[in-house]
């Protein structure tokens, strides 16, 4: 357990305190099982020698893990791993049309802003043929009371008129597009990107500024490549999950 390859890691490269950096490594050892649960971790002196630091620095790093409830220190018996960090309560980003339509099922929807616009600003997957006008809407999605996602969407006005106001206010528009059979969908594109929350997003989602976010772009095209729907959603990064099978046997 203690036979690390000599560490070719320059901890002075980063400006963060050494003990904070070490605690991120030790946390990783626990996550990967390198330090198994219920087992003793190497002594502070051993670790101090391995990482070429003062034992007091190791103690501070371990103390951070103890505060997280990952290890427990026993006088004279040493430090033991008590638990792995709990995995997040994931929100799965759909990777097929059916999954994308169902993704919003368990979420509470709140329409917080809307207006009529002439065009979709910067359609992510290309314009195709633009509709005469779009309904812009901003929705906040909550799970168990907590805001997890904010979505800006643009819906072709011709389609928007086919859907009742109540339905449109209380549903995810993408789910409506799939369920209502209001439109002949020829193509739907999705791109997932990753970024950080700016002032606006962090305020709305009640997450810290610079917290990571997953950014999900959807574009739905109808006949003659008409852009029927465009959306951009910001999802809390700590719960964002893409999980999918790898496809085998040529192109679908």
């Amino acid at each position: 357990m203690t036979d690390f390859t000599p560490l070719e890691l320059d901890l002075t490269h980063n400006r963060a305190p050494i003990y904070v950096q070490l605690s991120t490594l030790f946390r990783r050892f626990i996550v990967t099982g390198h330090w198994p649960v219920d087992k003793q971790v190497p002594t502070h002196e051993t670790l101090a020698m391995q990482f070429d630091v003062n034992p007091a620095t190791i103690r501070k790093a371990i103390a951070m893990l103890e505060d997280e409830g990952l290890v427990k220190r026993y006088r004279r018996h040493g430090t033991f791993v008590t638990a792995k960090p709990a995995s997040a309560d994931w929100f799965r980003i759909g990777t097929t049309w059916e999954e994308a339509l169902r993704a919003f099922d368990a979420l509470a929807v709140e329409l917080i802003e809307e207006s009529d616009v002439d065009a979709v600003p910067e359609p992510f997957h290309g314009t195709g043929m633009a509709a005469a006008g779009y309904r812009y809407q901003r929705r906040l999605y909550r799970r168990a009371g907590s805001a997890i996602m904010i979505e800006d969407s643009y819906l072709d006005q011709a389609l928007r008129r086919k859907i009742s106001d109540a339905k449109l206010a209380g549903s995810a528009p993408l789910a409506l597009l799939g369920a209502e059979r209001t439109a002949k969908v020829e193509r739907a594109d999705e791109t997932v990107r990753f970024g950080i929350a700016d002032t606006e997003i962090s305020t709305i989602l009640a997450i810290p500024l610079n917290a990571s976010v997953a950014i999900v772009h959807h574009s739905v095209f109808g006949e003659k490549s008409k852009l029927l729907f465009e959306s951009c959603a910001y999802l809390r990064g700590d719960i964002a999950l893409v999980s999918e099978p790898i496809k085998f046997g040529g192109k679908p």
């Binding site: 890691l9 980063n14 400006r15 070490l22 960090p85 002032t199 500024l209 999950l241 999980s243 790898i246």
Partner: protein
């Protein structure tokens, strides 16, 4: 770089513990600073770097414009000028900002977007994409933090795995640390040099005994630990996209597992849903 005085803010951040949530992540113990919230989990200057980069990328600080005076930024975030200057210095080295005495700080570049690496989800694309990726590959020594064999519930474990760990860079910017576990029998069959000189998926394709038939992948967001931050030359705690892959052959054996850790601003995943 390491001679800078350590920031009190960091020390405070580490000492001041908020009660933990079940996720084990620091809870949102925000500090209200000016109009903006900074969090305690990440060093202040790192948060400033990320925020400033975002201001540039979003166009709020347009190219060739002069950004607010450092004093004003320091006041806005309730931090010292030294901290702001550290963040600005970092972005100067990234060639996004330039400071000239008496002239203020100017935006001279925008974060590169053309470096984005697409994450495919078809085996053929993985094999083919590997050939088209223009990257400098640096073989890394054995990982310091991974167990010897893959930790997985996917498939039957092979008797042994060969581990390859690589740092990939484009245009001098390191963007991916990839750790691959390959069934050692495949490595023995097709030869180690095949894997050292060519993409790993292509090497696996050459096996006549094992055929990749099934697999899964996940993408999640994590933060850079000290090792990843060092290798990718990014701040500790910066967002990282972790891509895990498992590949199983016709006998149900886990022949390949990988963990890729990308700079989060270098990754995107495109799917044609319909």
């Amino acid at each position: 770089m390491s001679t800078q005085p350590r920031k009190n803010a960091q020390k405070k951040a580490a000492k001041k513990k908020a009660p933990r949530r079940a996720t084990g992540k620091p809870s949102g113990g925000h500090r209200r600073a000016g109009a903006l919230q900074l969090n305690h989990a990440t060093p202040i200057y790192v948060q400033l770097i990320m925020h400033f980069r975002q201001q540039i990328e979003s166009g709020k600080w347009p190219l060739n414009s002069t950004i607010p005076a450092l004093e004003d930024l320091a006041a806005e975030f309730g931090v010292t000028r030294v901290t702001v200057r550290q963040a600005v210095g970092f972005l100067q080295r990234e060639r996004l900002l330039s400071s000239r005495r008496g002239r203020g700080t100017t935006v001279i570049g925008t974060p590169r977007r053309d470096l984005w690496q697409s994450v495919p989800h078809a085996w053929d694309d993985l094999v083919r994409a590997a050939d088209t990726i223009q990257a400098d590959i640096l073989e890394l020594p054995q990982p310091i933090r991974l167990p010897d064999s893959p930790q997985t519930e996917h498939g039957i474990l092979a008797p042994n795995y060969h581990v390859i760990r690589r740092l990939l860079s484009r245009d001098g910017i390191p963007y991916l640390v990839g750790t691959s576990y390959i069934d050692r029998r495949i490595v023995d069959e097709v030869g180690l040099e095949t894997f050292q000189k060519s993409p790993i998926y292509r090497g696996i394709e050459r096996s006549r005994h094992s055929r990749a038939v099934q697999g899964d992948q996940t993408l999640t967001l994590t933060t850079a630990d000290a090792e990843i931050a060092y290798l990718l030359e990014i701040p500790l705690g910066a967002p990282i996209v972790t891509v895990l892959r498992w590949v199983i052959d016709q006998t149900g054996t886990l022949i390949y597992q990988s963990e890729g850790q990308f700079r989060s601003d270098f990754v995107q995943a495109y799917r044609r849903l319909r």
